[in-house]
């Protein structure tokens, strides 16, 4: 019977199925971070349950670490240091691999796991972090869980699961210039809702997905949790194998038949199919307080829930273009990889951000990304343009009590969530691609990156 890629990975990992239909599924990789890692490891230690195979468990300090140069265990979040020191102690005691605050491999979980070849095609990977779905871009079944499930996975090497449904989202056609993977994700969620993927594992496919580089694929898969999907997955291809080859934990060669079998069979059936013409997409920006409140940048704000309009301070029927912004942020597991930074820097080169901005910040997705960007001189371009250049971490993606801005401040941000208060009490967040964040930072208001192109190559 023809199988989807999900079917193939699932089937390979079934340990047993109970009489009531629950599957005991083997888990190949587990990743923790300091915000939830200490809770899971401490509770296991209290119950006298060891980690069954420490070699498959990794932890990193990313969520609340300081991103300013010269950082140590102290955090801008009051009381945050305990999360770092307790995670460190618990990781050491459990014998798992830890990427500590100033480890050269430190970075955001979903950036460093692919960079180090920890996630691999055909594998299962879980982490107590909703954006774990990012890693499906490499052809793995990767999903976010809670801390209790992380304990279960670390103790037993398995999880108990009901089999999810499958969905294929096909992006046909070729993306226009300055329209990116981020815009594909926001367009999908705007059209089908923040709950549209519930109960499903989503496979992204089609010409526009195949055309994305590996980092763009991670951006697309990253937002599957904003669609309430369990996971997102993209069939690994020659680009994937070339990208992974030579990475620390990856096999040197991807020439065995197994690797090339990791795709959906031609006639495999999905429970649901969605098709979107990528050629018709525009740069997308969120206007409200859910990622489903997203729109083409040059459209008029649609009518949404009153509460969302009141929080964001924008009425239905008005344009989003031209809305003044206070802060620009390039970072997070969505859009802080080397290709994101290169594309942003290419637009910034020789320009300067608008004088009215109170802050513009770039936080690379990993320390390896930071070093690679610095070797190419990207840091100079950002700094010369008026951005701050930081060490790696989750930074302004959420507010834990450290860095923020006065209530009512408006940010344009390459992150994934525009919830009420996500970036601090009263902060109004607009999520967008790095290109749109740069165009807006230069203009001082929400601006269309395609206008920059028109300026450079007038018709």
């Amino acid at each position: 019977m023809p199988q989807t890629l999900f079917d193939k990975i699932w089937q390979r990992h079934v340990v047993t199925v109970t009489a009531t239909g629950t599957t005991l599924l083997a888990i190949d990789r587990i990743f923790l971070h300091e915000r939830t890692g200490a809770a899971a490891l401490k509770s296991m230690a209290q119950a006298g349950r060891p980690v069954c195979d420490p070699a498959r468990v990794f932890a990193v300090m990313d969520h609340i670490v300081d991103t300013r140069p010269g950082r140590d265990d102290t955090t801008l979040m009051p009381g945050g240091q305990a999360f770092i020191t307790e995670t460190r102690a618990a990781a050491l005691a459990a014998g798992i691999t830890l990427f500590d605050v100033n480890d050269p491999d430190q970075g955001i979980t979903h950036v460093i796991s692919p960079e180090l070849g920890i996630v691999l095609p055909g594998c299962t990977l879980v982490a107590p972090d909703s954006h774990t779905c990012t890693q499906g871009a490499l052809g793995a079944l990767a999903w976010g869980i809670g801390a209790s499930e992380a304990e279960h996975a670390m103790t037993t090497g398995t999880l108990r699961l009901a089999r999810p449904a499958t969905m294929r989202v096909r992006f046909t056609g070729i993306l226009p210039v300055y329209v990116t993977a981020k815009d594909m994700a926001l367009a999908l969620i705007a059209r089908h809702g923040a709950g549209g993927g519930a109960g499903h594992v989503v496979e992204f496919a089609g010409e526009a997905v195949e055309a994305l580089d590996i980092e763009g694929r991670m951006t697309l898969c990253n937002m599957a949790t904003e669609f309430s999907a369990m996971a997102a997955i993209i069939a690994p291809d020659e680009k994937t194998f070339a990208w992974l080859a030579g990475r620390r934990h990856a096999p040197a060669h991807f020439d065995a038949p197994f690797w090339r079998s990791q795709h959906s069979d031609d006639s495999a059936a999905f429970d649901r199919e969605i098709e979107i013409d990528a050629a018709t997409l525009a740069p997308m920006v969120s206007w409200g307080t859910s990622p489903q409140h997203s729109m083409a940048i040059d459209a008029l704000i649609p009518q949404g829930p009153e509460r969302a309009h009141a929080y964001i301070g924008l009425d239905a029927g008005q344009p989003l273009l031209g809305t003044p912004i206070d802060v620009a942020f390039i970072g997070s597991c969505t859009n802080a990889r080397l290709t994101d930074l290169r594309r942003a820097a290419a637009l910034l080169q020789g320009r300067h951000i608008a004088p009215g901005l109170s802050k513009a910040l770039v936080v690379p997705g990993s320390e390896a990304t930071r070093r690679a960007a610095e070797a190419e001189g990207l840091d100079r371009i950002f700094i010369d343009a008026g951005f701050e250049w930081r060490r790696s971490g989750c930074s302004l993606c959420f507010y834990a009590g450290g860095e923020s801005f006065p209530p009512g401040s408006r940010t344009i941000s390459t992150t994934n969530r525009n919830f009420e208060g996500r970036q601090g009490p009263g902060i109004r967040t607009h999520i967008a691609s790095p290109e749109t964040v740069v165009a807006s930072a230069l203009a001082g208001h929400i601006a269309d990156p395609r206008a920059l192109l028109a300026k450079e190559f007038p018709a």
């Binding site: 009531t20 498959r56 709950g195």
Partner: protein, 200 residues
């Protein structure tokens, strides 16, 4: 885990769609590295006004609902961050069940692992139950309100675990032998998955 059998109480209405876990407990309220000390931060942005005084407009600050053990929520309840602290905070406050048209998957799982029952019912029924005294019967898988009996379903295994208050890890550890057999076979088939012991 505390067993869940039946629960009778008033369902506090919180009917907005897409209530995210940042709203249930913002990151800045996650002050404890463990699972306790979180009830203070539950719904903090809505529950407190300036100076951390109770916001009288918020449902759980209204006398009829302050001791509610059931929430009636909107669609896609619990979306966003996977933080189990959202469920720990709800449970510590005293909430034992959430009735909503749909739940975000990680949140629903976290509920089931902590003795908190997510009850999915059609929107019209959730709206009708909001603010009412209802009985949730997990054994019978129904919500009773007056003469109405509204059926819902919960995953069969999760239902047993909740009814009996069982520890799911203990249950899986009974399959240790099957896991070892699977692992040995897989190690031969996919040796590249198995990394050397972590260097210390």
């Amino acid at each position: 885990m505390t067993p869940f059998t039946t629960l009778t109480g008033i369902a506090a209405p919180l009917l907005m769609d897409n209530i995210d876990t940042d709203a249930i407990i913002p990151s800045r309220e996650m002050k404890s590295t463990g699972r306790t000390g979180l009830a203070e931060g539950l719904f903090a942005p809505w529950r407190y006004s300036e100076g951390r005084n109770p916001n009288p407009d918020f449902v759980l600050n209204q006398p009829a609902f302050t001791d509610a053990r059931i929430l009636a929520g909107g669609a896609n309840f619990g979306c966003g961050s996977s933080r189990e602290h959202a469920v720990w905070a709800l449970a510590e406050y005293g909430i034992r069940a959430v009735i909503a048209p749909s739940f975000a998957p990680i949140f629903a799982n976290n509920c089931l692992r902590n003795g908190l029952l997510p009850v999915a019912l059609p929107l019209g029924q959730v709206q009708a139950l909001a603010g009412q005294v209802v009985t949730i019967d997990l054994e019978a898988q129904c919500v009773r309100h007056g003469a109405d009996i509204l059926p819902f379903t919960v995953d069969a295994e999760a239902r047993t675990m909740l009814l009996e208050g069982l520890d799911v890890i203990d249950l899986t550890l009974k399959d240790r032998a099957a896991i070892a057999v699977w692992t040995d076979a897989d190690r031969a088939a996919r040796p590249w998955v198995y990394l050397a012991k972590a260097a210390s």
